[in-house]
């Protein structure tokens, strides 16, 4: 098996607080292959953003990685010095966040910001860097890029700004782009454009993508594989088509039935009772057990690990424990 581009092993992220330590990510493991788009879904608070932040070394204090490892192309990056990590960010891992303004400095023109990023990481002359910057803007669909490049971020609309951010994320030819809810702040008709540009521009340049979103529809159209997070743990991971059309984890299958679609005719949506637990109230055993209609004794006692189901799919649920021989879900 080839070395994955990114490998996250048993990642644990904790927040020490006065009333004890909160564990926000609890032994999360997954790989991203070269050229792959991995979607990461989950409800708000599931730990999607923290996973991205931990990988790029941008956890905000007091949050800290309390266990596990992150490997980028066979090199461990979770224990690098801040200085070395800064070089990995931008150069090897590009980032796109929900609000384009967090990535753009209002005081500098788009040209200044792109050229600065390019020249920090690549050995190019000012002139070549500018040419490269214009090419990138053009690629992400900024009309009249050669002229617009000298504008300030606030001269661009929301969608255009997010295009600029994508160009910025790709400026130093990273191997991986982590996009955290890149379209959530945008209008419906603009979301589809941005997702297309993000995917195509990355794949064309050989960058893998970790796409964080709460929108299963976006994942369906964009990702190769999808990872489903629940209460800081991986519930299910596998090829998009398998997970969407035949989810195995009771949480994932409930979630799929809960999403209204344009084609469905059902009168009622599938209902998962309750809501995701807070970090200080995660139940013993399977974190989903109070909401699960298949719950049995073992679920309340022991935490299920990811179980390989063939075809690259893994499910953390005791229903699929080989020893149980209980396949009638």
């Amino acid at each position: 098996m080839p070395t994955p581009l990114l490998s996250v092993r048993d990642l644990v992220v904790e927040f020490p607080t006065r009333r004890g330590t909160l564990r926000a990510l609890d032994h999360v493991s997954f790989d991203i292959a070269e050229g792959e788009v991995l979607g990461m879904v989950g409800e708000s608070g599931a730990g999607k953003s923290l996973t991205g932040a931990a990988i790029i070394g941008l956890l905000e204090a007091p949050g800290r990685i309390a266990g596990g490892e992150v490997w980028l192309k066979g090199e461990r990056i979770d224990n690098l010095s801040p200085e070395k990590m800064r070089r990995v960010r931008g150069r090897r891992i590009g980032m796109v966040f929900q609000d384009p303004l967090t990535s753009l400095n209002p005081l500098y023109t788009v040209a200044e910001q792109l050229i600065e990023t390019i020249r920090t990481h690549l050995d190019l002359s000012e002139k070549d860097a500018r040419k490269r910057a214009v090419g990138l803007l053009d690629r992400v669909g900024i009309p009249a890029a050669a002229r617009r490049i000298d504008d300030y971020p606030h001269h661009f609309s929301g969608g255009m700004r997010q295009r600029v951010v994508i160009a910025l994320a790709l400026a130093a030819e990273p191997e991986l782009v982590i996009a955290d809810e890149p379209t959530t702040a945008l209008d419906v008709s603009v979301q589809a454009q941005i997702i297309d540009v993000l995917k195509e521009a990355c794949i064309e340049r050989g960058a893998s993508v970790m796409l964080i979103t709460h929108d299963m529809g976006v994942i369906a159209e964009t990702a190769d594989r999808v990872a489903v997070l629940y209460a800081g743990r991986m519930a299910e991971i596998g090829p998009v088509r398998d997970v969407i059309q035949a989810a195995e984890h009771p949480y994932t299958s409930g979630l799929m039935g809960a999403i209204p679609t344009l084609t469905q005719t059902a009168d009622r949506l599938t209902q998962i009772p309750g809501s995701m637990p807070r970090l200080n109230a995660i139940p013993q055993g399977c974190a989903f057990n109070p909401r699960c209609k298949h719950v049995f004794d073992r679920c309340r006692r022991d935490r299920p690990e990811l179980i390989a189901r063939g075809g690259g799919r893994h499910v953390a649920c005791w229903l699929f424990d080989g020893a149980m021989e209980k396949a009638d879900v």
């Binding site: 409800e43 969608g159 454009q193 529809g217 159209e221 679609t261 344009l262 949506l269």
Partner: protein
């Protein structure tokens, strides 16, 4: 139509978005107006769910606020149960206010954090003098039960609840004056999908149980498809299409409706190839002349740049586009 509950005709609202007087004098700017709702007309029948969809800034909330009497129209009229709403008469508005309620997008902002849940829910009952004494407490308990919470929750404060539970509280409050009509402005867009499903199911159950009529406002076409009987599509303050829900999705008449449909990610993995959606919503202060959609429209014709299309009848509603009406063979393209 006799069973029409709410009828909106020519509803228009301008906002003055001019710079301060001194700036205008110095910069020689004119006063500027933004038309958030422009000549909007539709009817809502008793017991149905009518949805308004549109992107941010299309005027959805402005229309909702005018209908519930929180904002005065610049022109046009609203009829509720046959009577024209008279914004000038406090008494008439008060009498109407009991009969309709509103649920807002943000369940965090819409509940007073210093009030106990019981008092929040009882407020409309007290305001309209519907009940007294111990009866109110019993009614609050019953309403909490109806929305899937428990009577004991009346003693708690809003911050003790999750987003979905707060939206349930907002719904219980809206139900407490026994309204016939509820305006729901993005009731689930701040919620996660699993919680959204609970709230949408609850809204449907309540509609069946109490014969409620809903005006549902949302930017999410899938939610709208799931919930409504009829749908109006807004673009820059104008209603570009109205149709039966099923029809709108199988046979959209207006190019903008079609574009919105094409922008929805395909969860069914059908691999349908869609027309790429282009452009963004322009600045509503200076909307494009003629058909405001013309800069983004794949079917744009010369007249679209100058003449504003009027709403004309379609199979199940109306649409405002120059392609229609002229018996247009051009309507076939694309």
């Amino acid at each position: 139509m006799s069973d029409t509950l709410l009828s909106v005709h020519g509803l228009t609202r301008h906002f003055d978005v001019s710079k301060p007087w001194l700036n205008r004098v110095i910069e020689r700017d004119d006063r500027q107006f933004l038309t958030a709702s422009d000549d909007v007309s539709f009817d809502i029948r008793k017991g149905e769910t009518f949805a308004l969809v549109g992107e941010s800034g299309s005027g959805k909330s402005t229309i909702a606020k005018m209908i519930v009497g929180l904002l005065e129209p610049s022109a046009g009229e609203i009829r509720f149960d046959g009577k024209v709403m008279d914004f000038a008469s406090g008494a008439a508005m008060r009498a109407l206010r009991r009969r309709f309620q509103m649920i807002f997008q943000d369940p965090f902002a819409s509940l007073n954090p210093r009030w106990r849940v019981g008092d929040i829910i009882a407020e409309p009952i007290r305001t309209f003098g519907l009940m007294r004494g111990a009866e109110i407490g019993r009614e609050v308990g019953r309403l909490l039960d109806v929305v899937g919470l428990s009577a004991a929750d009346a003693a708690k404060f809003p911050h003790e609840f999750s987003g979905g539970q707060r939206q349930r509280i907002a719904i219980a409050r809206a139900l407490s004056s026994r309204p016939e009509f509820i305006v729901c402005d993005e009731p689930t867009s701040a919620l996660d999908v699993s919680v959204q499903a609970q709230i949408l199911n609850l809204m449907r159950d309540l509609q069946d149980e109490f014969g409620l009529t809903y005006l549902l406002i949302s930017h999410d076409l899938s939610v709208v498809r799931h919930m409504s009987n009829r749908i109006g599509v807004l673009y820059l303050g104008r209603l570009v299409e109205v149709a039966d829900a099923k029809r709108l999705f199988t046979d959209p008449q207006h190019p903008y409706t079609r574009m919105l449909l094409d922008a929805v990610p395909d969860l069914a993995l059908s691999g349908r190839r869609r027309t790429p959606v282009t452009g963004e919503v322009p600045n509503p202060i200076n909307p494009p002349p003629g058909c405001a959609f013309h800069p983004r429209c794949p079917h744009v014709m010369p007249e679209c740049r100058q003449i504003q299309p009027q709403s004309i009848p379609t199979a199940t509603g109306t649409a405002a586009c120059h392609l229609l009406g002229q018996g247009a063979p051009r309507a076939q393209q694309g």
